[in-house]
């Protein structure tokens, strides 16, 4: 069994986090946020399909800055989770399993996730 007296060092502000660790943590955080967004997404999808009035309500929500911000956050969560997932899938297939490629692909994932969010931001302007 686990030795209860072994030293544990989990001071996140003092642990050196390589970009892969940041990516791994972000994969979890975005996953949980996406889970929390599910009821809102289903509600809005159902409302938009229910009646012309419901459709108008959903489209007019985009006039609100706060709603757009929420959509952008969820869009970033989705695109980040999407690209990081592809990266993990490739690692499962033994593609890119070394520090240099791993670090480079992690930066690419961070960039691609943000790029999709920026595209969404431009489209909503």
């Amino acid at each position: 069994m686990e030795d209860k007296k072994r030293p544990v060092f989990l001071d996140l502000t003092r642990i050196d986090m390589p970009v892969m660790a940041v990516l791994s943590f972000a994969h979890r955080v975005t996953g949980v946020l996406l889970f929390l967004s599910i009821p809102f997404v289903i509600y809005l999808l159902g409302l938009s399909l229910s009646s012309p009035q419901g459709y108008e309500t959903v489209t007019s929500l985009f006039d609100s800055g706060l709603f757009r911000l929420g959509v952008l956050i969820i869009l970033w969560c989705f695109s980040h989770h999407f690209f990081a997932g592809i990266r993990y899938f490739m690692l499962d297939l033994d593609i890119g399993v070394n520090v240099i490629t791993g670090r480079r692909s992690a930066w690419c994932v961070l960039g691609a996730g943000l790029a999709v969010m920026v595209i969404g931001m431009v489209m909503m302007l």
């Binding site: 996953g31 599910i38 289903i42 999808l45 399909l49 459709y55 997932g85 592809i86 899938f89 499962d92």
Partner: protein, 130 residues
């Protein structure tokens, strides 16, 4: 090399552990990836389809989603999503919550919420053409 061996899913007992705990872990690992692949393909294809036929009114939007093929593949997307979310949330809760009672309560809550979401989305998408 067997993908299960590579994933560490069944240790050194390749082939003779069909019902062991480790192969249950492997099955979970596989479902997580299969649902991800389906969602990935669906999102890319649906996004292209959507951008090529952007609906400009309620009737166009409803007609798009009422198409049998679209309704069924979208329903499958949500079922993949909810299964994927279950496995992910289960992993996260089991990693960070060590009190058995709290873990049980939250896992049950997440499970029922996801089942409810599955019924909800099926009601919406499978009745949209009626």
């Amino acid at each position: 090399m067997c993908i299960g061996c590579r994933a560490g899913g069944h240790g050194d007992r390749h082939g003779d552990d069909a019902m062991s705990r480790k192969s249950i872990g492997l099955r979970t690992w596989l479902i997580q990836r299969l649902s991800a692949v389906y969602m990935l393909l669906f999102v890319v294809i649906f996004a292209i389809y959507f951008v090529a036929n952007i609906p400009t009114s309620f009737l166009e939007w409803r007609a798009m989603m009422a198409n049998t093929f679209v309704a069924i593949t979208t329903t499958l997307f949500f079922l993949s999503l909810l299964t994927h979310a279950w496995i992910g949330m289960r992993d996260v809760l089991m990693d960070y919550l060590h009190a058995d009672s709290l873990r049980l309560v939250l896992l049950t809550g997440v499970g029922f919420a996801l089942l409810g979401a599955a019924i909800w989305i099926m009601k919406i998408l499978l009745t949209v053409s009626v």
